[in-house]
């Protein structure tokens, strides 16, 4: 069991590096570029649509092939979300995330990859984001929701 955890973690480490390199190469790690992509009415930079396109085509084909397997290589099951209905949590959460993303040009992945490149700004963002994530989870647990 312990060996399996070490193997899974090693895979996760490599995957994290590849993901981070993708964020850097594509320019997603730069909040100014994200804001230029979101600024449809201004001097629009459409290149991030190609990031999304490249990622979706690759993942879409890859997932299809992977799901022919009965199970992942290092794990007993594929852990996929089972919820199907569009609920108010999904809608309100996505609106709040969109607001934060639009204000800062940062979402969780690029913010983490920018940690060693940026200065105080990125620390402020990551600290506040962690407060948001773990504060939310703490409150949810205290309220006893599932």
């Amino acid at each position: 069991m312990f060996r399996k955890i070490i193997k899974q973690s090693f895979v996760a480490l490599i995957v994290g590096v590849v993901f981070g390199l993708g964020l850097i190469v594509s320019g997603m790690v730069n909040p100014a570029k994200i804001l230029a992509f979101l600024d449809v009415a201004g001097d629009w930079d459409p290149s991030l649509a190609f990031v999304m396109g490249g990622a979706l085509i690759t993942t879409g084909i890859g997932y299809r092939l992977i799901f022919f397997r009965k199970r992942p290589v290092l794990s007993p099951d594929f852990l996929l979300p089972v919820k199907k209905q569009i609920d108010s949590k999904l809608v309100i959460g996505s609106v709040l995330f969109g607001l934060g993303w639009g204000i800062t040009g940062l979402c969780p992945g690029p913010a983490l990859t920018a940690l060693t490149i940026g200065s105080t700004e990125i620390y402020v963002f990551l600290f506040s984001m962690s407060v948001g994530i773990f504060g939310f989870k703490f409150v949810k647990q205290c309220l006893g929701h599932s």
Partner: protein, 141 residues
């Protein structure tokens, strides 16, 4: 904006896709950053280490980039600290309440043709675009 600036965009996107495929093929997990980060606590001997390893990988990626390409990626901030703090809290709460961010819903979820993820992505993309429109063109910051 020229055709050559699209090559790194496409290439970076493909790298992100390869990472998402790797995590699913080996570990059977969705490569959603906010979900992986949010699941670090409470500590669980079977479920925490891979999450931390993934996050460490994201954080150290710039060192590999520097070794491979020989330069530090450029990042520019145009937002003041109070707004970075506000935006950070909104991103934190929003991704937990909405069960995902750009990676989990936008890449992995849409790749599975999840209706929830398609709806979430449309909502956060349009909200973000409207926010930028308001900040830059209405409020004039």
């Amino acid at each position: 904006m020229d055709i050559f600036s699209l090559i790194p965009a496409l290439g970076g996107g493909i790298l992100i896709g390869i990472a998402a495929i790797g995590l699913m093929l080996f570990n059977g997990r969705i490569a959603g950053i906010s979900g992986i980060l949010g699941g670090v606590f409470p500590f669980n001997s079977n479920d925490t280490l891979w999450r931390i390893a993934f996050l460490v990988g994201l954080v150290i990626a710039p060192f590999f980039y520097r070794v491979l390409v020989g330069q530090i990626p450029e990042i520019t901030f145009s937002v003041s600290w109070p707004f970075l703090a506000l935006g950070g809290v909104l991103v934190g709460i929003g991704t937990q309440l909405g069960s995902g961010c750009t990676s989990g819903h936008g890449v992995c979820g849409i790749s599975r043709f999840s209706i929830r993820s398609i709806v979430a992505t449309l909502i956060f993309m349009s909200t973000a675009a409207l926010t930028v429109f308001f900040v830059r063109h209405v409020w004039g910051a």
